[in-house]
Symmetry: C2
């Protein structure tokens, strides 16, 4: 069963300030939970409707109704876990680094984390107004990749002032990405869903690039930030071959 | 105001069988509505909370509460429109054609429609068990692109038996897409979110291709179908240059 104090704590973890305070986050569904455990994340509690899954002291058998009460999903899964937020290794100023300027949609951030993992990008920088990566919806969308990509939240402008890497950014009027030769070490910035990259951040960008549109009718306004990230990461990796 | 018979009709349009029966669909929000009108789609009714938007007989001024009642969104916008489903031009067996085998998520289909529009793919083939493109969530996600891409629902296997184009498909064990030279005329098949391309359809594929994974830890299971489509379309267009 789930105690009242556990229910209260879990429900508070829907908010970033309590995730920060307790250094805990929620993951739901056996698949996501097992992926995060395989990556060595420390499990505080597991609540499951499956008796066979109860193997340790911090595992609790719950009814479907109890699970529903502590779930953040529309349709509760068969398990909910509380994990400790892992300690981050320090940022290394090398390799391909993706930086996000105020990406707000949890689904987009989750997809971008999975893309970083796929394309071997181990460091993701998020501006402080980017959606929190331990938001339950981001955890659901990023799955095990959340534990494999190091995600740093920091003041983006200050960060860009200190880096020694070339700074790329996605713009409508940038240079055609298909004609660029990309370096293996670089920062690539993607911007907010509605407003793109902010003006102050834009000034720090040394290489403006663009995904060209094709076809006769050129009316599509823009690509979604997650699909743009997919195409840009693919181009960086194809062009450098590693 | 919205009459009772209008409310009843609109609410029925959440279901595919009624959209088929009445040949109508719902679009919400001034931006989506204006994009679809610009593309020449025939507007049956417009319901809006903005008096300045009322310019024709089939425009109705409604209260926020009335709009909420006919909205399919969690947070109702300031306008809801009912459009006639346009007549499709016949399929032409040429150019780059994207075909979907049982893509179920409305957000994924919406993103794929926008990607087709961006990359100048004018024909999208959907298996009959792919989510309906006039589903309110697909309409929201695809915006004006819905009117610019011709979307045909048909029995995919029969379609593939008749085409003269080479048939490409995305697989985990296919040939590296970065080493391929793509033709300008081809069919590219993307599969279901959980199961990929079905076995029967797989047998019709003449070219199996794959997006390589990078990085040391190769645990990411798969790319989301919409991000895979983004990368593949980008590669087709980059490689053929048109």
């Amino acid at each position: 069963m789930v105690s009242n104090s556990q229910t209260k704590l879990i429900s508070s973890l829907g908010q970033k300030k309590y995730r920060d305070k307790f250094q805990l986050f929620v993951a739901e569904g056996p698949k996501v939970i097992s992926e995060l455990r395989e990556e060595g994340l420390k499990l505080k509690w597991l609540f499951t409707t499956e008796p066979s899954q109860i193997t340790l002291e911090n595992h609790f058998l719950v009814s479907e109704a109890q699970l529903k009460k502590i779930s953040f999903l529309k349709t509760a899964n068969s398990a909910t876990a509380i994990f400790e937020i892992p300690t981050l290794s320090p940022y290394l100023d090398s390799g391909l680094v993706i930086a996000l300027d105020a990406v707000r949609d949890p689904g987009n951030l989750g997809t971008i984390i999975r893309l970083c993992d796929w394309f071997g990008v181990s460091q993701l920088i998020c501006s402080e107004d980017t959606v929190d990566c331990y938001n339950p919806k981001v955890v659901q969308a990023s799955m095990g990749s959340l534990a494999r990509v190091r995600i740093h939240y920091l003041p983006l402008l200050e960060f860009l002032e200190k880096t020694n890497l070339p700074i790329y950014g996605g713009f409508m009027d940038g240079r055609n990405i298909y004609s660029e030769t990309f370096p293996t070490d670089a920062i690539m910035i993607l911007g907010n869903e509605a407003n793109g990259i902010s003006e102050l951040i834009s000034k720090k960008i040394t290489h403006k690039i663009s995904i060209p549109r094709f076809g006769k009718i050129q009316k599509t306004e823009s690509l979604n930030v997650a699909t743009a990230t997919a195409i840009i990461l693919s181009e960086f990796r194809r062009s450098t071959g590693k």
